[in-house]
């Protein structure tokens, strides 16, 4: 394989699957992750050593494998997203392990933003299977709804602690019905409902040996899920990330405009239009990682050389002529992440694509009940709260609906005083 072919084959479907795990403190999430790592042999002898020392003769506690910082051990809870890695013969996996407590919704939002899938833990021992109707725990609904809100493509429920109920068949089937009813009501497409015992290792990586279940193991489901792919056909949208200044000053070296394609594809000879200048040009050459190629498509970082010298900088966009629509006012879902509450009218920095502009929240329309996604009348947003807002920007931006395109539809809000990342915006549309 030549370097060019290798580069052109990049970012097909051999991406690692990124998934987040959501569960509350007692749902057995750490044990489940420990089990995935342990069974796939991603745990190494000295790490096991540490655990054995701490177990002092008792069976080792797999949940301690995901144990984090000293600061967290002191408090007995995890306070930040941790990333874990394991691989099977089929694919590489990245786990974004998000603490599940309501207080840490911001971590779940962070973990969900880049994930291909979400595994929501359901503690079967906490469900009264005799109740009519069966009631799911609030955190189960919250985790699934947040993953759905962030448009995580696949949502899987892992029904855990099968080992701790007297009649696992009835308990699982009843829980499954309740999950399906909830998902149908919320408009969530379910990628799988899998019975597991993380503690015993049943149906995590090894199939469940039970007459009442002949479905896949959790790992089999994870191996089969698609990774998030942006649309490769149709119009082009490329945020300019970096303008290579090679040969600058020599007068005749064209500049290469690098950026990861948000959607569509680009090839030599294509007519393109630049945003915000509106100028048009023809693509003279397309590059990938230093080599010239015929074409590049969504998900790839392409270098575009134009047929003429134009004033282009980081933060500009390249698109198919006539397709970029701009606005200075749009409606969005805002997940507030900062301990300092959102202030209507205050100037913040926002980042859209590679462009930083000043913006303000012109109004907070409502707040979401994160247990039901129903809207509540509200005009304030505090940390870990999510609401509907209207945003005004100082310059026009080519925003797209987050549902249609992640790159064009997502922004972060940054506090201009502290530089903290204060909020995440998912665009609904121009307002």
């Amino acid at each position: 394989m030549t370097a060019t072919q290798a580069a052109a084959s990049a970012v097909k479907d051999h991406r690692a699957l990124r998934f987040l795990t959501a569960g509350s403190v007692d749902d057995g999430k750490s044990t489940l992750i420990g089990r995935l790592l342990f069974d796939s042999r991603a745990i190494l002898a000295d790490q096991l050593d540490t655990l054995e020392k701490r177990a002092a003769g008792a069976p080792i506690d797999l949940s301690l494998l995901t144990d984090g910082l000293e600061a967290e051990r002191e408090q007995g809870i995890t306070i930040d997203v941790a990333y874990r890695y394991f691989a099977t013969k089929q694919r590489k996996f990245i786990i974004a392990d998000a603490p599940g407590h309501e207080q840490y919704t911001r971590n779940m939002v962070t973990a969900a933003a880049g994930s291909d899938a979400a595994v929501v833990l359901v503690d079967i021992t906490k469900i009264d299977v005799n109740a009519k109707p069966v009631v799911l725990l609030p955190q189960t609904r919250r985790h699934a709804l947040l993953a759905h809100l962030l448009r995580v493509p696949s949502i899987v429920f892992a029904v855990n602690k099968l080992d701790a109920v007297a009649d696992p068949e009835t308990a699982f089937n009843t829980t499954r019905e309740a999950l399906l009813a909830f998902a149908a009501h919320a408009g969530i497409e379910v990628a799988g409902i899998i019975p597991v015992s993380a503690l015993r290792g049943d149906n995590v990586t090894q199939p469940l040996d039970a007459a009442w279940y002949d479905g896949p193991s959790l790992l089999q489901v994870l191996e089969s899920l698609p990774t998030l792919q942006e649309r490769k056909d149709g119009d082009l949208l490329l945020p300019v990330q970096y303008v290579a200044r090679e040969g600058e000053g020599t007068g005749n070296q064209p500049r290469t405009l690098w950026g990861r394609i948000a959607h569509g594809q680009v090839k030599a000879g294509d007519s393109v239009q630049l945003f915000p200048s509106g100028q048009q040009a023809v693509v003279a050459e397309v590059r990938l990682a230093g080599s010239v190629v015929d074409a590049a498509s969504a998900g790839q970082s392409a270098g575009v050389v134009l047929d003429r010298q134009l004033d282009v900088s980081r933060g500009d966009w390249i698109g198919t002529p006539g397709t970029i629509e701009e606005t200075q006012r749009f409606s969005a879902t805002l997940a507030w992440l900062d301990t300092e509450a959102a202030v209507v009218g205050r100037k913040y920095w926002v980042r859209h694509g590679n462009r930083w502009v000043q913006a303000r929240i012109s109004s907070i329309e409502s707040r979401l009940d994160i247990h039901t996604l129903e809207t509540i009348d509200a005009h304030e947003l505090a940390v870990n709260e999510i609401g509907h807002v209207i945003i005004e920007t100082q310059q026009p931006l080519p925003v797209e609906a987050y549902d249609q395109n992640r790159v064009g539809g997502s922004l972060i809000i940054v506090d201009p005083t502290s530089n903290r990342t204060s909020g995440a915006l998912l665009v609904k549309g121009a307002a």
């Binding site: 002898a45 000295d46 694919r91 962070t110 230093g290 080599s291 997502s410």
Partner: protein, 319 residues
């Protein structure tokens, strides 16, 4: 003699195409760093992770001729903190690679910090690993770097498992684990105040195996001590301590010669080799697949002192 086995022949069941995806992500982060900051530098120690980042930087910023050679110059200098206790093979390798590539190297010397009095050793043979932080921060201040590219990976250690790709350091160079900025999509928050800086980690999502697969696939040059060689060592607390002028034998210890290779390359006072006959990157991939001791546990004396040693060092501004 037969042609050497390729990784594909050796491990036919393993899919290597995920390396393309990791490469694309790393190149994206490298370009982001250069575009978003004014004075970047790339930490280059001659260690395998920094060799991988260096190759990725060539792919991100240079053009490749028909002969496969990279042309052009990186848009940042390389930075190395020399403890004065580095393995001579590694320093020789560092200088040779820098000359071959025509890049600019900035070296921060721990000896200078000792002379200035900003570093005080408890005793002459104390491990200098922890003290590197001072020399590093002094180099950052002297050259006014606003971002350092590093080869740290999240799979190395649990404090690193929570590290951001763009990680903020305050004006004392400190990492505040409880104040980390949420990192959403690829909308990196690269805003800093004067005097602060960031660390950027393009290979955050790589594992040790990925690194070796990539080194093998790309034929990336490495210092010789990564491969099997004969070396005088002392067995101490389950580790093989290399015999050097700064790590002499203690009373009652015997010196032996073993066939070893290094899995990480750091300060001589705290880096140990493992016994291995692996003579090239492909052999090492095969060994890594079978390995049962994590990289730092087998080779780093400094991480053994406590379960939280890395976290504490990182807070102080370590790599």
């Amino acid at each position: 003699m037969n042609a050497p086995l390729t990784v594909e022949q050796l491990l036919p069941e393993l899919d290597h195409t995920h390396l393309d995806w990791l490469e694309e992500e790393a190149i994206f982060i490298l370009r982001e760093t250069v575009a978003a900051f004014e004075r970047p530098a790339l930490l280059f120690s001659g260690g395998k992770d920094s060799c991988v980042v260096l190759r990725l930087a060539e792919k991100a910023f240079k053009t490749r001729g028909a002969d496969g050679e990279f042309k052009g110059r990186l848009p940042f200098p390389l930075l190395h903190v020399d403890t004065g206790h580095n393995f001579p093979e590694v320093i020789e390798f560092r200088d040779r690679r820098v000359a071959e590539m025509g890049e600019r190297l900035v070296v921060g010397h721990l000896e200078d910090s000792i002379k200035r009095g900003t570093v005080r050793l408890a005793h002459p043979l104390e491990s200098r690993n922890g003290h590197q932080t001072v020399a590093l921060l002094e180099a950052i201040e002297e050259h006014r770097f606003d971002v350092l590219l590093g080869g740290a990976r999240r799979d190395e250690e649990k404090a690193r498992a929570k590290e951001r790709i763009f990680s903020h350091r305050d004006s004392f160079g400190q990492w505040q684990p409880k104040e980390q900025r949420p990192e959403l999509w690829t909308l990196f928050n690269t805003r800093i105040k004067p005097g602060e800086h960031m660390r950027a980690f393009p290979i955050s999502n790589w594992t040790e195996l990925d690194v070796w697969l990539y080194l093998a696939r790309e034929n990336i040059p490495l210092p010789s001590l990564y491969f099997a060689h004969q070396r005088q060592v002392i067995r101490r607390k389950g580790l093989l301590v290399p015999l050097t002028e700064v790590t002499p034998p203690q009373a009652g210890e015997t010196i032996e010669t073993a066939e070893v290779r290094f899995r990480t390359v750091g300060d001589m006072t705290c880096t140990c080799p493992v016994e291995s006959p692996a003579a090239n990157a492909t052999d090492i991939v095969a060994e890594t697949l079978k390995v049962t001791v994590s990289e730092r546990g087998a080779t780093r004396m400094d991480d053994r002192t406590s379960d939280a040693s890395m976290e504490r060092r990182k807070k102080e501004g370590y790599f």
